[in-house]
Symmetry: C2
């Protein structure tokens, strides 16, 4: 967590967030009013935050990682823009360490070159859009970072993504999986595209698939930038 995020939490009067994320910062927000709800209640949660702010409270909406990467920042701004008093409410987005770079650090240095970040969740995005992005990013040799790689409702998305990527990458391409990147209980695995599906990938995992140059050096995943050594 950055110093700026910590200061914002310290100053907030009302904390709004998904239960899991509230629990992560429990010691930092002791004594403050907390508004929690479930994972799929994002719109209600952000509306509540905006209403509280409109009523004069200093409100912090928390996301894990970076609130600007598949987080709550956009929804808060959309709701503010539609609110009759939205322009009067000051808002600050505080960036954080997103799962892509937290997972990369746990694995080595796979993001030394151009990369594409893709969520495999089709809750809000048609699978056709997701699969086209996988296809184009794989073809253009981007390192790929997959968010929301698997859930109970869509256990086969990661397998379908792997099939698409295998059209353009060798089965021996290094693949890293990190559960709870940057959080307590972080675990990292390093395999390859061929054996990816043997790993226990779940909703709190981030998957990083190397480009054509990515190698494993002393147990670490490294995509060379291209310096001559």
């Amino acid at each position: 967590m950055t110093a700026r995020a910590r200061e914002a939490l310290a100053r907030a009067e009302v904390i709004v967030g998904y239960r899991t994320y509230i629990d992560l910062v429990a010691t930092l927000i002791a004594g403050r009013e907390v508004v929690v709800n479930g994972m799929t209640g994002e719109v209600d949660r952000c509306r509540e935050a905006v209403e509280r702010a409109a009523a004069g409270a200093r409100v912090a909406v928390i996301s894990s990682g970076d609130p600007g990467v598949y987080g709550m920042a956009g929804l808060v701004l959309e709701i503010l823009a539609a609110h009759p008093r939205g322009r009067e409410i000051p808002v600050t987005i505080i960036p954080g360490v997103t799962a892509a770079t937290a997972a990369a650090a746990a694995l080595g240095a796979p993001l030394m070159h151009d990369f594409a970040v893709i969520s495999l969740s089709d809750r809000l995005t048609p699978w056709e859009v997701i699969s086209r992005r996988l296809e184009m990013a794989a073809a253009a040799d981007f390192v790929l970072v997959l968010y929301n790689p698997r859930s109970h409702g869509r256990p086969d998305h990661l397998g379908r993504a792997r099939e698409i990527i295998l059209k353009y990458r060798q089965p021996s391409t290094p693949v890293g999986v990190v559960r709870n990147a940057g959080r307590k209980g972080e675990v990292a695995w390093l395999r390859d595209l061929d054996t990816l599906l043997e790993l226990p990938v779940d909703m709190v995992s981030t998957v990083i698939i190397g480009n054509s140059q990515t190698r494993v050096l002393d147990g670490r995943m490294v995509t060379p930038r291209g310096y001559r050594l």
Copy 2:
């Protein structure tokens, strides 16, 4: 800066980095030995860091933003892997807030959906690779984040990138430019693809180009995730 990065700097005996980055943390490293050199001395700098660590010192190599995104993490691991005593030297990569998400926060919430990060520097990558990635990422409707968008040695890369992107995006597509994202002196501009080249983009700027859904809401750049409001 994260608490973890601050703690690592506090514990380090030798600090290695490019002059501009050393200056950013001057007050945090007072009294410690500092090894600095110029922007293009990356290999020498990392070799020196590895030699100092091999000799027993606790060394911190600093990058701005996240060391794992076009930073020094990969080079350090490559040099370690080639060093006769490299396996004996423990190394930790500490992730940070990369320019993509720091710039996004300054502009609003442009990275709510899938995005591609591309460096326009052809110092280590052929322009053909860069232009193909721009082409594919634009075609697949990724939000685009451009690092190293312009320098004295290649003043026209941003213009060439814009031409490629305009094959797939409307001239009215929102574009944000942030100088010194997340640092002192941060400035953000919001325009569109049509007028992008009127902005004073330089080497310390990050450029974010919206996807087909990105809008400007009350002066902020927002890519909707797709929630129904």
